[in-house]
Amino acid sequence: MAIEVRIPTILRNYTDGAKAVEAGGATLDELIADLEARHPGLRERLVDDKGLRRFVNVYLNDEDVHFLGGLDTQVSDGDTVTVLPAVAGG
């Protein structure tokens, strides 16, 4: 139970304003379930019935989880998971 999850400004109303929270699990899916237990409502902002939401990016130690296995991505103690809204560039 020591995975740091960084929360973007826009979702901090679910974490009492905390920029980062801790949660546990063996996969991203389990981690998000644990987050939901601690901060109800958060799961729905990250995941819909098709998987991770299109306008939300989730990174495991700086790598986009879409390329690591999506919700099945393995996570372990000491990892950092960062959630960010998708932004444009150019």
Binding site: F55, D62, E63, F67, T82, P85, A86, G89, G90
Partner: protein
């Protein structure tokens, strides 16, 4: 090399090796110097292709006004082409971009409509879409969804890379409109088995992600996840550090988004070394450092530079 006009000199940029930053003779880094384009950035390619395509399709006729949301480089490239082809240019640009970008846009005759800093380029896109609805006679080329953007890289940047580096194993570029990665990525995947297509995405300070609603997040219509093999989020600190390393170790004076791509490229290189595999990793130098001098990116300590860059869009 001789060309009939400036626009004819577009592309065919040098690919230079990085003998000092490459970890070994078997794992090599190569920089594609896109700052050697007419206005000094990779965006000259999509700008020229998008305008040419719109002319062919009859969307653009002399005297037309072009509208585009841009954090700078695309606008500068479009303004240059527009000036030569006789169009007016209106750019919607976030307030939190470097002073040089505004100066350059004005120099080429573009009108600038500022969009709020919070929300970054997402806001610029939103404002531009509103203006497009109000001015149906304006032509929004819309780099985020215009196939000619990716096409410019599929038809030219990709072939140039294969010609100069047939042994390429990795291609790394910044992720903005996704045009470079989609175009070069598709081209390479058709020709190079197991080629890695790696996106390096800037991670900004909180202001830039300060959207009112998570559903205001933005994914360019051009983006097709299946073209990529990995996507990394690179902090301003890492991007700045690598930008400086590129300058001190290899003499290349590049913009900050290049440091972002280099950071991911060095990560790929380290993985190849660890796996005992050979690698030829090409990455994109999207622009030179000139436009970022006023941000203080190259002065003082890394911490100071990072603080000065807080809240700024650097890609």
């Amino acid at each position: 090399m001789r060309f009939d006009s400036l626009l004819d000199s577009l592309g065919r940029t040098p690919l230079v090796g990085l003998p000092r930053l490459s970890p070994s003779a078997d794992v090599r880094l190569w920089a594609k110097l896109e700052d050697r384009n007419p206005t000094g950035s990779v965006k000259d390619r999509p700008a020229f292709w998008m305008i040419s395509k719109a002319e062919k399709d009859g969307l653009l006729t002399p005297g037309c006004t072009i509208l585009e949301p841009t954090s700078g480089n695309t606008g500068i490239s479009l303004a240059m082409v527009a000036r030569l082809r006789g169009y007016k240019m209106v750019c919607v640009m976030p307030e939190n971009t470097s002073a040089e970008r505004t100066q350059l846009l004005k120099m080429w005759g573009a009108e600038i409509i500022p969009s709020p800093a919070a929300g970054g380029s997402n806001e610029a896109v939103r404002v531009a879409k509103g203006l497009a609805a109000e001015h149906p006679d304006w032509v929004m080329l819309y780099q985020y969804g215009n196939e000619a953007n990716a096409r410019s890289h599929y038809e030219a940047t990709g072939p140039e890379l294969i010609e100069d580096l047939p042994s390429i194993t990795h291609f790394v570029a910044g992720l903005g409109t996704t045009g470079t990665l989609m175009g070069v990525g598709r081209f390479l995947r058709e020709r190079v088995p197991d080629v890695a297509i790696v996106a390096a995405e800037p991670r900004y300070g909180e202001l830039v992600y300060g959207l009112r609603n998570i559903d205001e997040g933005f994914v360019p219509e051009l983006y097709d996840e299946s073209v990529l093999t990995a996507r990394y989020s690179v902090t301003s600190e890492d991007a700045l550090r690598r930008t400086r390393e590129l300058l001190t170790a290899e003499g290349i004076f590049a913009g900050i988004s290049t440091g972002c791509a280099l950071h991911a490229a060095l990560g790929m290189a380290a993985k190849a070394v660890q796996a005992g595999e050979r690698a030829d990793i090409a990455f994109v130098v999207a622009d030179g450092g000139w436009k970022y001098l006023s941000t203080g990116a190259y002065d003082g300590t890394l911490d100071e530079a990072e603080q000065r860059l807080e809240g700024q869009l650097w890609a």
